[in-house]
């Protein structure tokens, strides 16, 4: 800030603290008339007086000094440059910051946020542009709408249309409406989870891919016929993928050791696959039972369970998707999911049904647990697990189903049609 504006800054500071000029002058040991001249930038100010004024105003004297806000000056000027149609008094930026420091900081912060949002938007746009299906589908959609709009306008103004041509336009309208419906359906299907047997998601980790190929049940590991290290070594993976896969397989192997599959299955069905009851009966932690449920053989008499594990920030660290419920990899899931609710209540299992906007229903069990030991004065990190199954009717009766809490949840805000959701944080893209 130019030294000539020091006085302005002192005046604004004094006013913001509702101190009279006379009172400040008296407490700083100078005359009111001298302070008046300083505040109007008509007198220079020495170090001793500056320190005294800063002391009375309870601010860091450096905040008055030249150049203290150069970064802010730059940001405010850049914000002005972003809106060239508004004739901002850029040459008075320093004076503005001196007089209205709070507002200037607000502009600086808004500028920072706008920059981040612009970059995010650009990234999303690039992502959509690089999706050939989406690009083609949107082109078709706009073409369909163009035909319908133009044809309806022709038919509605009714000028100079022979009967045969009118019928022709009506026929075009019908065909184009059907095409529009088909295009919209194709777009929706593009966003829906893939069919069983397809690659579920392109953002699946190497370990998840290996497990998916084996339906999350590897006989050789179940029977302890091979070590996770040897198993992963046979897969010809890159070093990083092999390391990650070994870690995941070691965790899986540990579950098979604690809960051998035959033992588990023999008791799981009579216990209605209820992990809380199973945990008590088998005398193992609930988290082990939850993970075991994600690694069951694929058989018609065994319900399918998916799993999602997240850290305290909500980031997904492990997942097993099911064809009817795709799970996000990067934090854009629905905050209403019980797994996120469990993070605020560690060690308290949550059993609830979730209903998705597309009509699917899942029974879920969620549990958050502490990931490290308590440090005095510092809460522990938490992680959470949620298992879910669409096959609850295989082991629950209708009255039992009716007793459970139901949560209406979404998948991702931007494609979730629940218009009045209080947890909404992103606009619905498809409206």
């Amino acid at each position: 800030m130019p030294r000539s504006l020091l006085g302005t800054r002192i005046r604004e500071n004094r006013r913001s603290k509702k101190i009279s000029q006379a009172a400040l002058a008296k407490q700083a040991g100078i005359s009111a008339s001298y302070l008046n001249l300083i505040e109007h930038n008509r007198r220079g100010i020495g170090g001793k007086t500056l320190l005294a004024l800063a002391r009375v105003l309870e601010v860091d004297p450096r905040s008055f000094t030249e150049g203290a806000d150069q970064a802010l000056v730059g940001r405010v000027k850049q914000a002005a440059a972003m809106a060239p149609t508004i004739a901002c008094e850029v040459d008075k930026t320093e004076e503005f910051i001196a007089r209205f420091h709070g507002f200037a900081r607000l502009i600086g912060r808004q500028f920072d946020r706008a920059k981040v949002q612009d970059e995010t938007l650009q990234a999303v746009t690039d992502q959509m542009n690089s999706d050939p299906f989406f690009s083609e589908a949107m082109h078709l959609l706009v073409s369909n709408i163009t035909t319908i709009k133009s044809t309806v306008e022709i038919l509605s103004d009714g000028q100079g249309i022979p009967a045969a041509l009118r019928n022709r336009f009506l026929s075009n309208l019908l065909t184009e409406t059907e095409r529009l419906a088909q295009t919209a359906t194709d777009i929706l299907q593009h966003f829906e989870p893939s069919a069983e047997g397809d690659d579920i998601s392109s953002d699946t980790t190497a370990a998840e891919t290996i497990l998916e190929k084996n339906d999350f049940f590897i006989n050789q590991l179940e029977g302890n016929f091979i070590s996770p290290v040897d198993y992963a070594a046979r897969l010809n993976l890159s070093k990083a993928d092999e390391d990650e896969t070994v870690d995941a397989l070691i965790k899986y192997s540990a579950i098979t050791q604690k809960l051998p599959i035959d033992t588990f299955l023999s008791i799981a069905k009579p216990c209605n696959y209820d992990p809380i009851i199973l945990s008590q009966k088998l005398n193992v932690s609930l988290s082990v039972v939850l993970r075991r449920l994600a690694h069951l053989p694929k058989r018609e008499d065994i319900p399918r369970f998916g799993i999602m594990e997240c850290d305290g920030s909500g980031a997904v660290i492990f997942r097993k998707q099911l064809p009817t419920l795709a799970l996000p990899r990067y934090g854009s899931a629905c905050p209403l999911w019980p797994i996120y609710r469990s993070l605020s209540q560690p060690l308290q299992p949550i059993k609830a049904f979730i209903n998705t906007p597309t009509g699917e229903r899942f029974l879920t069990y969620s549990l958050a647990q502490y990931a490290d030991q308590n440090t005095v004065g510092l809460p522990s990190r938490t992680t959470a697990i949620m298992v879910f199954t669409p096959d609850y009717e295989m082991f629950l009766t209708k009255p039992e189903i009716a007793l459970q809490p139901n949560l209406a949840v979404g998948l991702q805000c931007s494609v979730c049609p629940r218009a009045n959701c209080e947890a909404r944080r992103a606009k619905y893209l498809l409206q």
């Binding site: 082109h139 133009s150 336009f169």
Partner: protein
Amino acid sequence: MPKSVLIVEDEPFILEALSFLLKREGLTVSAFTDGKGCVEHIQSTEPDLVILDMMLPNRSGMQILEDLRAMDAFTSLPVLMLTAKGQKKDRAAAEQAGVSLFMTKPFANKEIIHNVHRLLSK
């Protein structure tokens, strides 16, 4: 003599609607549905105005526009480009290539008629 308009559009129903609208305005309308051979067609028919869709099979509207502007005979031929892609970069690229007017789909019939007359009267 009525002015002639060539519509280069691969969507048959849009083509049909546009043709009707412009014929109703007393213009002579012809159509071309492929990017390939389009420049040659323009050379042989010499329309007063070209309505050019940006996304065409075989050769894009942008490439056709660039080809036309590279020919002395067509440096000032009015070209109205239609596109479903209304992104700034597409508009900027079309302006750079010498488009006379850039319109995004879906358009209002009155608007396109107004613009066609405006370009033809220049």
